[in-house]
Amino acid sequence: MDINMTLLGQSIAMLVFVWFCMKFIWPPIMNAIEERQTQIADGLAAAERGQQSLDKAQAESEDIVGDARKQATTILDQAHARASEIVAEGKTDGAKERERQVAAAVADVEQETNRAREELRGQVSAIAVASAEKILRREIDATTHEDILSKLAAEL
């Protein structure tokens, strides 16, 4: 337990180790730690910025989807309105067509009736003339009394 040269040796050894540590160990490790600290801080800041822009984008996309939904509803409503309009139009068109056809049929029928009536009238007058001829054969010539006969036919 005497004090001897070991003391001096240990002092020198210690100063050498401390010098080495100060020169070659401490600075690179400290630099690396500090550099990584800034990197991590930057990374965290970037992540936060990313989160913020993501939130913004989400809000925007929700807006866009909402607008689109609104537009779609409007378009759907318009389509419905247009469809009922078309149906209504069809109904009116159909009714008109029906009326037109009914009117045409009625006109046809009238025409036919008139034609038939004319024919009948002709036949009746012919029959009348024939009967009158038969009656008057003996007394009246058909040609002399033609004006009276046609007058009679027109009156029928």
Binding site: L7, V18, F24
Partner: protein, 281 residues
Amino acid sequence: MAAESGHETLTSGDYIAHHLHNLQVCRADGEWVWNHCAGNPMALNVDSMFFSVLLGVVFIWIFGRAAKKASAGTPGKMQAFVEIVVDFIDSSVKDTYHGKSKLIAPLALTIFVWVFFMNLMDLIPVDWLPEVGLMIGIPYLKVVPTTDVNITFGMSIAVFFLVIFYTVKSKGVLGFVKELTLHPIAPPTKGAGLIAAPFIIAFNFILETVALLAKPLSLSLRLFGNMFAGELIFILIAMLGIWQLPLHFAWAVFHVLIVTLQAFIFMMLTVVYLTLAQEEH
């Protein structure tokens, strides 16, 4: 284990004395002499120096490797461990020391890790390395450098000179002298009290010198005392036969605490002394 230590007529006193004996070399009568150097101030404790320098090199190797590979990228496991230690020391130093010196933090790191490694040698069972030494012809081997008072004094004296260096550097030689003489009692500068001034200065000087010298003394004796006592208890436990196993384990667990704590205290007090050296009172 006592009976296995080599000699037939070995008492427990011999066993303990053998374990506490350094392997020494010195020059006597113009020749290099081994182990007959009691009281010779030029002797060298070869075992203490060897393990001390070896552990210092281990420290340099582990941390130097990490420093060489240090980058801001993802650290490896060893790198992360080294960085945890460095960061721990850095924050401890920054809590106390607010100056700009580039020396104090690496000094604290070196002291902490080196003293920790030297203390840790205490946990190697006390007979292992000395027995190996005996086998290869080394008669004495004390494996824990911090149980050698020369080692702890060597470090605390280096710290002491750093304290003086930093005091002179930050306050000048005059400031250093003033610090030794004008505190804690300020001598009167005028009037009749002027006669008393030399006595007050002398009183201050004695007081401050004692305070200054007490720093390295307490620093080294605290570490030495703790480690020496711990080592002695390990040696005593080693003489108990089979019962040493649980006892050794229990004491080793407790000693891990002392090993770390003493390394930390040595480092922290060094930082505190160097901080005080650069601050105005």
